[in-house]
C-alpha cells in the first residue's frame, strides 16, 4: 500500500493488475505504440449482414473472460447492452467484461447477470444503481472509473482490449457506414464510438434503420465495420435525448452563474476567439446565459464551444457567438438537428476531444470550462464520482480531462446540499486533482487557486466575494456543523483512474 501524491492509499496490485499511483497531471507519458487490430480482406460479394445479435456474438468468437463494448449516446433509452448481456448468458458465456463508454440506470437489468457471474467487470464508470450496490458490497463487480479521454486512451494504448464492439447505429447501410443524425433513434454525435470502431478486434454495427447504400453522411465508415445486424429498436427515443436542458430558476443557482460569468470576464479570457465548455445542468446553462450576455455587451466573437452540446449552444452558434461547435455528445433534439444540417457543428471522437495521449486534444484549446462537483476540498480537489454517502454514483465524464486542458477551470456548486457542506477538509473521492482546478464558485463566495493572484485582485476590485478557501470552509461548517465521516471497510470495490492511467483514488466498500 503506497500513498499517491494526493495522500490516497493505493495498493500495489488490484485484481492482478499492478497499479501506478498518481503523481501529477502531466508527467506520465505513453511508452507504447498504438494498439493494433487484425487486418482483414473482404471479397466484393461478401455480405456483412447477420440475422441476429446471437449470430453476431458467435461470429465475433467470444469466449469466457473477454470484453465487449457499447456506446452511451442513447443514454437511458439504450436497449442494446441489456440485449447483449442476455444473449451472452444464453450462450453460456461467463466472466465477461463491459468496456462501454458509460453504464446508466437503464442497465440495472443486467444486475441478475452480474450476480450469476456472466459479467464480472465494468471497465468504465457506472451511473446509478449498479454502482451503489457495488459500493454497499451487495454486488460483486470490479469497476474501473475512467474519464472520456481516459477511456479513449485506454483503448488506443491497448490497456483495455475490446474483443467486440457493438455500435448502436441510428442510420446504417449493409456495409456498416453509419451516422447518428437520421432515423427513429437519432442521437446525433457518435463521438464515443469512434475509438471502438478503430481499436476493437471486431466491430458490429447494430441498427434499427437499415438504409440503402450509402448511408450518408458517414460518421463511422464501412472500412472499420465487420458485421451489420438489424434489430427492431435500438431504444426508447423519449429517453435518448431527454435530458432537460433549461436554465435554472433557483435564485442561489442564478447567483452562482452570475459570479461564474464575472470570473470569466475578470480573467481577461473573454475576447475574440474565446472558447468555452459548459455542461447541461441548470446552473451551467445559466452561466452560458450570462456569458452570452457579456459577449454581446462586449462585442466578443468566440471561436468554438465544446463537449456535450445542448440547444443552448446551438443558439449561440447560430447567433454568431461561436464559429464552430465540437460535439462529442448531443444532449437534446435541437443539437441533433443542428448537427444534421450545420457543417460548423462538428462531430468529434472522444480521442480528439479529450485523450491525454495523442498529438493534441481539443480540451487543450479550451479557454474556459464550467464544471460541477459533489464535493470540493480545501486543496481544490474535486469529487464527482461519489457523494457524501460514500457510494459510487456518478461517472467522471470529461471532468478531469477538460480541467487539465482548459486555461481556466471553474467549478460551480452550491455551498451546501441539504444539510451538508460542499467544501470539505478532504473530498471523499478525488476525481479531478486540485492542481488542474482554478476557481470554485458558490453562492456565498468565490475561491481562487493560489496560481492566480491577478485574478483575485481583479475580483476584489469588482467587489465580488472572494474568500480564502480554508476560511470559507470554516464559514460554511459554522452553518452546517461538521458531518461525521463515512466509515469504509478495507475492501476496494472500484479504482478511479486519472486520465493518464495512473490511479488517483480508490473506492472502498461502505461500512453499513
Amino acid at each position: 500500500m503506497a500513498k499517491n501524491s494526493l495522500g490516497r492509499e493505493i495498493p500495489a496490485l488490484w485484481r492482478g493488475r499492478a497499479l501506478d499511483p498518481y503523481i501529477d497531471p502531466w508527467s506520465r507519458k505513453p511508452e507504447v505504440l498504438r494498439a493494433t487490430r487484425p487486418l482483414v480482406r473482404r471479397h466484393p460479394s461478401d455480405s456483412k449482414l447477420l440475422p441476429s445479435l446471437r449470430a453476431a456474438l458467435e461470429k465475433c468468437e467470444l469466449r469466457n473472460g473477454m470484453n465487449i463494448s457499447t456506446h452511451h449516446h442513447l443514454r437511458n433509452g439504450d436497449l442494446l447492452l441489456n440485449l447483449l448481456v442476455k444473449e451472452m448468458d444464453a450462450m453460456g458465456l461467463m466472466d465477461m467484461g463491459i468496456a462501454s463508454s458509460s453504464v446508466h440506470d437503464v442497465h440495472a437489468e443486467i444486475i441478475p447477470y452480474i450476480r450469476k457471474g456472466v459479467i464480472t467487470r465494468i471497465e468504465t464508470g457506472v451511473n446509478g444503481l449498479i454502482a451503489q450496490m457495488v459500493s454497499k458490497g451487495e454486488l460483486k463487480c470490479d469497476i474501473i472509473v475512467r474519464s472520456h479521454g481516459g477511456r479513449a486512451r485506454s483503448l488506443v494504448t491497448g490497456e483495455v482490449e475490446v474483443d467486440a464492439a457493438f455500435i448502436a447505429a441510428p442510420c446504417c447501410d449493409v456495409t456498416g457506414n453509419m451516422n447518428g443524425v437520421h432515423g427513429p433513434s437519432a442521437c446525433g454525435s457518435l463521438g464515443y464510438a469512434y475509438t471502438d470502431a478503430r481499436y476493437a478486434k471486431k466491430v458490429v454495427a447494430v441498427t434499427d434503420n437499415l438504409v440503402r447504400y450509402p448511408a450518408a453522411p458517414i460518421s463511422i465508415s464501412q472500412s472499420d465495420v465487420d458485421y451489420v445486424v438489424q434489430i427492431e429498436s435500438l431504444g426508447d427515443p423519449k429517453k435518448i435525448v431527454s435530458t432537460t436542458t433549461r436554465v435554472t430558476r433557483d435564485p442561489a443557482g442564478l447567483l452562482i452563474a452570475k459570479y461564474a460569468a464575472e470570473v470569466i470576464h475578470a480573467s481577461g479570457l473573454l475576447k475574440d476567439g474565446f472558447s468555452f465548455q459548459t455542461g447541461a445542468g441548470g446552473t451551467s446553462l445559466a452561466v452560458a446565459d450570462n456569458v452570452r450576455r457579456l459577449m454581446a455587451e462586449n462585442g466578443v466573437k468566440g471561436s468554438f464551444g465544446c463537449g456535450g452540446i445542448t440547444g443552448y449552444f446551438v443558439d449561440m452558434l447560430e447567433e454568431g457567438y461561436f464559429e464552430t461547435l465540437f460535439d462529442v455528445q448531443c444532449f437534446d433534439n435541437k443539437a441533433v438537428d443542428s448537427m444534421r444540417r450545420n457543417p460548423c457543428h462538428r462531430e468529434i471522437s472522444a480521442d480528439l476531444y479529450a485523450s491525454p495521449f495523442n498529438r493534441g486534444c481539443v480540451a487543450n484549446m479550451l479557454d474556459c470550462v464550467i464544471l460541477g462537483a459533489t464535493e470540493v476540498d480545501v486543496d481544490f480537489n474535486v469529487n464527482v464520482n461519489t457523494e457524501s454517502s460514500g457510494y459510487l454514483l456518478h461517472n467522471t465524464g470529461g471532468h478531469c480531462d477538460v480541467a487539465a486542458g482548459a486555461k481556466l477551470a471553474i467549478v460551480v456548486a452550491p455551498s451546501m446540499r441539504g444539510r451538508l457542506p460542499v467544501v470539505r477538509d478532504a473530498v471523499t473521492t478525488v476525481t479531478t486533482p486540485g492542481e488542474t482546478v482554478d476557481v470554485i464558485v458558490t453562492e456565498r463566495g468565490i475561491c481562487v487557486s493560489d496560481k492566480h493572484p491577478d485574478l483575485v485582485a481583479e475580483l476584489r476590485r469588482r467587489n465580488l466575494p472572494v474568500k480564502d478557501i480554508r476560511q470559507f470552509h470554516e464559514e460554511i461548517t459554522k452553518v452546517t456543523g461538521k458531518p461525521r465521516p463515512v466509515e469504509f471497510e478495507d475492501e476496494i470495490v472500484a479504482l478511479v483512474e486519472y486520465r493518464d492511467g495512473s490511479i488517483i483514488d480508490v473506492i472502498r466498500k461502505v461500512h453499513e
Binding site: 430558476r249 435564485p251 442561489a252 442564478l254 447567483l255 453562492e443 456565498r444 452553518v479
Partner: protein, 303 residues
C-alpha cells in the same frame, strides 16, 4: 441616504431560505411571520427567525421583521421573541390608521427600555393595505419618528376594495399616488407592493419603471430573482447622470454670471431642475456609480 430599493420577504418558517439571506443582494430583508406562515407554524417561525437574527451578526443588509397584525393574538409574542435578537425594524401590516403605529411605537419603546437600547432604535415601516389605510395615510406618515418609509400592500388592498389586481395595475393608480404624496410630504421613503408573478420579468420591469416615475423609492419583493431588475430600474442611467452633471455645471456658470437661470441645450435650467439633478446625483453617489462632492452650496449656490 440609505438605499431601500429592494425589500425581500423571506418566510420565517423556512430554515433553508433563512440561511440564504446573507447571500442575496437585496437592500432590506423582511423576515415574514405573517401571511407566509400558516397558523400552526407561527411559534416555530418566531424561534427560527430569532435564532437566525442572533447568529447573523455580520450583517450586510437591513433586517426587518414583518410581525402579525396588532389585532391578532400573535403580535405581542412576535415582538417579545424577535426584538432581543435586534432586527433593524418592524414592518407593520394593516397600518390602517395612525393609532396602530402609535401603539407599536409604545411597545417598541417598552422593549427598548427593557433591553437597554436607545429609544428609537427600532424603525417602523407601516404597510398601507386597505381603503381606510390609504385615506388615513397622511396622518399615518407623521404618526411616529420611527418611520423611515411608507409601504403599500396591494394584495390586501385589492381584497379590501373587492377588486382584482391586474398586471398593468390601473386599479392601483390612485392609491399609489396618495401614498406617495403622504410619504413625500412627511419626508419618508416610499415602498411599492410586491409583483406576484415571479416568472414575468418584463412585466416586473414595466411596473417598477412605472412606480419609479410615480415617486416610489423602492419595492417589496417575494423572490430573489426579482432583485436585479428592480436595482436596474432604480439605478440612474449613464445618460441621466451625464445630464445631471451638465445641469450642475450650467448652474455653476449661471451663478458666476450672477443669475439663477441658464439655458442648457435649449432647455431652461433653474432651481427645481437643479434639485432634480441633485437627486439623481445623490442616488448615483449612494450606488457608488460616481465620485462627486454634492454640498448644499453646489445645489443651492452661495448665500
Amino acid at each position: 441616504m440609505r438605499l431601500r430599493r429592494s425589500l425581500l420577504y423571506v418566510p420565517g418558517n423556512m430554515p433553508g431560505m433563512l440561511q440564504n439571506i446573507p447571500v442575496f443582494e437585496a437592500d432590506v430583508v423582511m423576515i415574514d411571520l405573517e401571511d407566509a406562515v400558516p397558523l400552526q407554524e407561527k411559534d416555530a417561525a418566531r424561534l427560527l427567525a430569532r435564532n437566525f437574527l442572533r447568529s447573523y451578526t455580520d450583517r450586510n443588509k437591513e433586517m426587518f421583521v414583518r410581525i402579525n397584525g396588532l389585532d391578532t393574538p400573535y403580535a405581542l409574542d412576535d415582538l417579545r421573541e424577535i426584538l432581543p435578537a435586534l432586527p433593524d425594524g418592524i414592518r407593520l401590516p394593516k397600518a390602517d390608521n395612525p393609532e396602530v403605529v402609535e401603539k407599536l411605537d409604545t411597545l417598541l419603546t417598552e422593549q427598548e427600555e427593557q433591553l437597554g437600547l436607545e429609544i428609537g432604535h427600532f424603525k417602523i415601516i407601516p404597510s398601507i393595505e386597505s381603503a381606510q389605510g390609504v385615506l388615513n395615510s397622511v396622518a399615518t406618515a407623521v404618526s411616529s419618528p420611527r418611520l423611515v418609509a411608507l409601504a403599500f400592500g396591494a394584495e390586501d388592498f385589492t381584497a379590501s376594495m373587492e377588486i382584482d389586481r391586474t398586471k398593468t395595475g390601473e386599479e392601483l393608480f390612485s392609491a399609489r399616488t396618495q401614498i406617495v404624496w403622504a410619504a413625500k410630504a412627511a419626508g419618508l421613503q416610499v415602498i411599492d407592493t410586491i409583483f406576484p408573478d415571479v416568472n414575468d420579468m418584463e412585466a416586473l420591469r414595466t411596473e417598477t419603471a412605472l412606480i419609479k416615475r410615480l415617486g416610489f423609492t423602492g419595492k417589496s419583493l417575494v423572490n430573489p430573482r426579482q432583485i436585479e431588475i428592480i436595482h436596474e430600474v432604480f439605478r440612474p442611467s449613464a445618460k441621466e447622470i451625464e445630464h445631471a452633471l451638465e445641469v450642475m455645471d450650467a448652474i455653476k456658470r449661471a451663478r458666476e454670471m450672477g443669475t439663477g437661470v441658464i439655458s442648457l441645450k435649449g432647455r431652461m435650467v433653474d432651481a427645481p431642475v437643479v434639485t432634480r439633478a441633485a437627486r439623481v446625483l445623490k442616488t448615483a453617489i449612494a450606488f457608488g456609480m460616481i465620485d462627486f462632492e454634492l454640498t448644499d452650496e453646489v445645489i443651492h449656490g452661495e448665500k
